[in-house]
Amino acid sequence: MGEDVRRHRFRAMGTDVTLLTDAGVTDGTMQAATGRVESIFAREEARFSRFRPESELSRVNARSGAWTPVSSSFAALVAAALGAAERTGGRFDPTVLGAVVSAGYDRDLDEVLAGARVALRPARPCGRWVEIELDGDRLRLPEGVGLDLGGIAKGWTVDLAAEAAVEAGPPWALVNAGGDLRLAGAAPHDGIRVAVEDPDDPAEELMQLVLTGGAVATSSTSRRAWGPRLHHLIDPSTGAPAATGVIQASAWAPTCAEAEVISTWALLEGEGTLDRFPVVLVTDDGRVVTNLDGAEGRGV
């Protein structure tokens, strides 16, 4: 594809967001698509950010133990997160907030990186997602438990944005938020090339993926990390940052929200996920393992 695309970059949700679409798209269509994507990110970030005291998520977390009215979008994402927790046997856990904070990720990442690089408190197992009660447009969290939807809210937003971008007129649109991306619409015949970055050096490519539909998300222990063995990917069974031998997991799924869940699951479960999902795993002993089809047949 090279530069045979139009692109627009902006910053949201603490990461770089890029909208890609066909090079033949007019300025007016591009502007319309860009406007939709930016407004969706602004709206969903205001709803789901845990670093904004006025966000709906912060309001819900502040009322743990009590029934709290929530928007339909909030309820839908919580339902999706609880479904993911159930499917993954708790590997994906939306109640790891306390553990993430205990590990030191208690502020915006830039502030964390500028401050102390130590765990704040000893790790404790998570898993209290089973106690969350969701009843239509109201929600009750267990006392003392906070939601962290960071593992799914970005993908959810990417999905909404990519679909809205295509509705503005371009034949296809790809929205990439910090490596979590979704291709919507009728993909170019030769697909979109997506580089899988080397976790040790993001400027280096491990391989390229050719995507003709759906979404890819990557979880990595080297991103959002603030010290040795201190990163944002919490193993709910221990409450500590995960250490499974997989240091980066990229997963394909029809939607970005689901790809995010699977990439997190793959990183926490390790190479066992190769039997179940299309993934590319990077292990701490230097291997890159994939079950995707290659240009010359099946490659592992």
């Binding site: 997506v194 990557t218 394909w252 240009a295």
Partner: protein, 87 residues
């Protein structure tokens, strides 16, 4: 009555023959199935796509960065339009 008597007289030797003891070899010969080929079926293998088949494949890039030669061909790998690397 004459018809019944005649029928029984005809069937009696057959019944006696069936009830008579048989030699071992004859028993084996009776048990061996006789195969009659009435038609030939050509088996066709149907391969179903794996449930996990996804509209994505990988191209290994030998070395680093865009423009490096792909290991699966002699042509230069096109630049990637975007990237993924964790968030």
């Amino acid at each position: 009555m004459a018809w019944v008597t005649g029928g029984l007289a005809f069937a009696a030797p057959l019944g006696a023959l069936a009830a008579s003891p048989k030699v071992a070899g004859a028993e084996r010969a009776e048990q061996a199935p006789q195969l009659i080929v009435v038609r030939t079926i050509t088996r066709r293998v149907v391969v179903h796509a794996a449930p996990g088949t996804a509209p994505i494949r990988y191209v290994y890039v030998d070395g680093s960065s865009s423009g490096a030669p792909a290991s699966t061909g002699s042509t230069t790998a096109p630049s990637a339009a975007t990237s993924t690397g964790g968030s």
